[in-house]
Symmetry: C3
Subunit: 203 residues, 3 copies
């Protein structure tokens, strides 16, 4: 139940990120819905297609499409108020990032993939919705330019496999990994930490 609530909150936060990007591009109602939908479920969809877990997840559970539809309608109506909720949204988004990472890792484990691939799947699940959202809006994906987002997923995934070596119940490792993702991102944003630059002084 707890898991389900967080999953839905993450979906809502990602959908809202889609609405905001789509409205900036002045898309129409249908376009806004599609971008919100893709932002919310695109990462999990790509993951499911890569491992052959079809029909993909949102096709098996109507709840996702309905939640996103409601989110889009409410977001458009209350778009002005959304701006005052930036911190709350950022928090949901970050929680979603942590949870979606671990959903992806778990799918990898149940497909018997190696740890590296599980971490890759976790990162794809959590961050590629945003990549597809940006491509559809004709932008270079923001996470390719401001990377602590995906880096947090990778660190969380690595932590999970390190925790697994310890003599604890796997649930704790799961929760610890989510905490790593969330705190990495919060700290990176708070202290403006970025990956080391690769273009020398002038870029």
């Amino acid at each position: 139940m707890f898991y389900f609530i967080i999953d839905i909150l993450g979906t809502i936060a990602f959908a809202i990120s889609g609405v905001l990007v789509a409205m900036e591009k002045k898309l129409d109602l249908f376009g806004v819905f599609i971008i919100a939908f893709v932002a919310a479920v695109g990462g999990g969809t790509l993951r499911d297609m890569l491992i052959g877990n079809t029909p993909v997840v949102w096709m098996r559970e109507s709840v996702y499409i309905l939640v996103i539809l409601a989110t889009v309608v409410l977001s458009i109506i209350f778009v002005k108020q959304l701006k005052y909720l930036r911190t709350t949204l950022f928090l949901f988004d970050t929680i979603g990032l942590g949870l979606f990472t671990m959903v992806g890792v778990e799918k990898g484990l149940s497909s018997e993939l190696s740890p590296i691939m599980c971490i890759a799947l976790g990162t794809i699940t959590a961050s590629f919705g945003g990549v597809i959202r940006d491509i559809l809006c004709n932008e270079i994906p923001v996470i390719f330019r401001r990377e602590v987002y995906a880096t947090a997923c990778i660190l969380g995934g690595v932590s999970y496999f390190l925790f697994r070596e310890l003599p604890f119940d796997s649930v704790y490792g799961y929760i610890a990994a989510i905490v790593v993702v969330i705190s990495t991102r919060l700290l990176a944003v708070k202290f403006k930490i970025a990956l080391p630059g690769i273009y020398g002084r002038k870029s």
Copy 2:
């Protein structure tokens, strides 16, 4: 046989839409072919990948690739004449839209998906070829800005499931749904109907 002819006519119409967009971008012969191909079969391909119906449809039937190849060659030769055929092309395109919607709905039914998912699959089948076409040409997809296209698919899909409740043979519901898609689009274009705006007066 009737079904097959309409399917091929829809494929041709969608392929021509691809040729026209690609030539506007001054792509070369190979690029024009790929854009035409993607416009014609991209929606069905995405649908098949989402539900795991692989190899995807155009890989199992060579007829699609050959029809598109012929369409591209003829379109390039007769590109000037194509401009006088705008109404005919628009009609084919609209018929294709109706038929491809129902192909997608049927695939969803045979994968035992819920009505909402069947409608989503129908819309994807009919309209996402155009989305991928526009992305490959580095444009924001036109259907995200001029939405009666996809809305017609959704209305058609909803109609199908309403008709199914009536005590008629399912073939009539099938045909009725195609008629709904086609007439929705024709009326929307004729009377310049669009979805309600969401940006207030000045956008």
Copy 3:
């Protein structure tokens, strides 16, 4: 073993092409890695998703992700030297093109697809990594404008099926097809051969 070395060399060459494109766009470290990764394995990934051969190839063998990671790190460190290696890189890239084409053709054969589809799969395997790379970087894919790249794959694939009719061991046909791809591209670049124009004099 020979096959494996060429496969890895091709992966490296394609990954370097990704690094160069991504650095031109000033992406950050994560973005550069993803673009390199997609350039190297994107074609094979799309192929595997189209035929339902999942989990896709790079998920089953960690070697790809590790080789690409090492390539990205070394490429960023030695980016200046890379410019003096243009000819070597072009050669690797062309060898990779030939080999990846035949990998795709073989996958098609083992999925019992028709020759046309095998050639299509070969072309997708060899050239669509570059397409996805360019889309992620918000560019119209270069192979849609400078087409001898994909045309070489198609010619190679056709050659393979012609050679198969001859009374030789299939290994020779395989090698001959790779030679066709490589020499087509080398000759096209050397003699500046392009597909016939389709836009009349002034384009």
